[in-house]
Symmetry: C2
DNA sequence: ACGACCGGCTAAATCGATGTAGCATTTTTT
DNA sequence: AAAAAATGCTACATCGATTTAGCCGGTCGT
């Protein structure tokens, strides 16, 4: 019921709690505890299945062996998969994960940071929202280990792991152009965050290189927080508004899903009347008939990279002011399922 | 850097930490602290943005305001969505969530329980694996609030939230039968856990009621932990081995996904050569052309129910030995997207 | 006028683990 | 043989919040 404490072991072994603590923390040698006592304590500890109370330990040492993971939406395939990888990687280092979803809402994100802070997490993995730069800088000022993911603030020098959004978008768009599509649009999120900007830049660059005229009517920006129906309506409105439109690049996976839904409800045939490319992998793209090409993020690599960076920071211990090195998780690479 | 502590407030207000604690915990009246002092403390606390250190509080009170969520696989759409709901609901009550994935591996599940235990979580939401009944009973003996989800142990009297698997499977199978399919198979997981048993029973009952002969060759059980390729191969082997097979019911969403993949790679046309019904919702089912009927779980309701039950237990405070009441989250209901 | 009582507050113990400072002994050094 | 050093272990303070027990001065009752 109450759990075994260090005192119980001390009592059974007939020594002081201090000695037990030393032994169990591998400081027996350093603190000159005799082999005999040392072994006896070990034995009792395993017999009693002693596990240190992490609260007490955390209170004393200031380290909770917990990292905070802030994602945009844990129910989204990309973030859920990322969460899984992070969980696994963190576990390898003995860390647990506290998570939260921002819904891309700055206030929610601030709230999450607040909660994680007074839960004393040791480090943070954050998918930042707009205007979260101040908070990020505050965390840095407090020497908290932290890595951003999926997007970042160019003017904040922090660690971050993102994929080459520009290149991914470029390749996606170029793919459409090379299939012979002439009037290619992009549907993206109304956000001036880096990753969307880069994707948009990649899109326009690819159009240019393939001598396809660009104009603003080819870009549709949708707010993040629409419900499914509104997404559908907006999408349909846009798709039908562009004259001679023959292909679309969707800049995120959920836009792709909403897009497919809209196209279906318009009764268009994917691959015939309209070409598609999506961003981020999803079973739906892979198994749709015909298959839908997409730029897939190497999620495992991203997750591993995130945790590795964080662990390096954490072991730099004392909290030396994070050297503002930047990391790129990997290049986006295209699926080779054919677009038809 | 260090964070504001109760002492800082006490010092500024010129009172003792005790008084501050009383006021901030709403015990001012009860403990007869004067309005004056009370207000002064409140003011200072908000000015300093004081947040109690949850570790210290947890150590003292034994409550961490954290719940442990153990799912099968957080990267799976069903569990990810559930996690989101649980996170939101828990947040409403001021609780945070520590999560972990079992991969349906009993040892991993035991490890997770261990970790959550010495992290002192207040309560558990668990998707149990096979043979986890002993551990569940131990938790109950320790008067830990706990709710099982998605499956349960008939011989363990605990709270649990599951949908009516029997009915869901029955309806799914009946749907196929009513479409005129004559030789209907089921692909399920090699597991004797309740939810799979119930789904299998629903399947056979539906066949019987529609006078479709049943025989063992119509049931394929696959191990949980195959990789994608093996799933695909096993699936293809099975689908081609049943003579005159014309429809399949997939008992989980990932089986459905793997099934669609296999059917595609066999070059069969869904809806023409073979009818399908899946379990658990997925964008893929909804947006596939033609649409694929599925039995969808009311995830939001399940999540809310889970948290509600847990909170009731938690507020029953002292840990009165959980009245072994059982809960059903809701009936599965069929999507009305037509099977074609 | 003297004990009982109350209002308003605080000292100190507590949760469990850690870590510094230091106390006895024994062993080594000179 | 006395001083210095090493050995083996422990008392106690600490982290921050909570909570029990109770102090002190004033009021009330009789």
């Amino acid at each position: 019921m109450k759990g075994i404490s260090i005192k119980d072991i001390a009592k059974q072994a007939g020594v002081s709690p201090t000695t037990v603590s030393f032994v169990l923390n591998g400081k027996a040698k350093e603190k000159r505890i005799s082999e005999q006592v040392s072994k006896k304590i070990q034995k009792i500890a395993t017999r009693l299945k002693y596990k240190p109370n992490q609260l007490a330990r955390g209170l004393r040492t200031g380290k909770t062996k917990t990292i905070g993971l802030i994602v945009e939406d844990i129910a989204n395939n990309f973030f859920a998969t990322l969460a899984k990888v992070v969980e696994d990687e963190a576990d390898k280092h003995g860390y647990k994960v506290l998570y939260g979803s921002t819904e891309d809402n700055t206030e929610k994100a601030k709230g999450l940071l607040e909660v994680l802070k007074y839960r004393q997490v040791d480090g943070y993995i954050i998918t930042p929202t707009k205007n979260l730069d101040k908070e990020i800088e505050l965390l840095q000022a407090a020497a908290k280990p932290l890595v951003l993911v999926d997007r970042y603030f160019p003017h904040v020098s922090s660690h971050y792991v993102v994929l080459n959004n520009y290149q991914g978008a470029y390749e996606a768009t170029a793919h459409l152009a090379e299939q012979g599509y002439k009037k290619i649009a992009i549907v993206t999120i109304a956000s001036d965050q880096t990753q969307m900007k880069e994707r948009l830049d990649g899109f326009t660059a690819a159009l240019k290189d393939h001598r396809i005229p660009f104009n603003k009517s080819l870009v549709k920006r949708l707010p993040f927080d629409l419900d499914r129906e509104s997404f559908n309506n907006e999408m349909k409105k846009f798709l039908t508004s562009v004259k001679d439109l023959d292909a679309v690049f969707f800049a995120t996976n959920y836009l792709g899903i909403a897009g497919i839904e809209a196209i279906r409800s318009l009764g268009w045939e994917i691959g015939k009347q309209i070409g598609l490319v999506g961003f981020d992998d999803h079973d739906l793209f892979r198994l749709h008939s015909p298959s839908i090409t997409c730029v897939s993020q190497p999620i495992a690599a991203i997750g591993k990279s995130l945790v590795d960076i964080l662990m390096k920071e954490l072991n730099h211990t004392a909290g030396s002011p994070a050297s503002p090195q930047q990391q790129v998780g990997g290049e986006g690479h295209r699926h080779d399922l054919g677009l038809h």
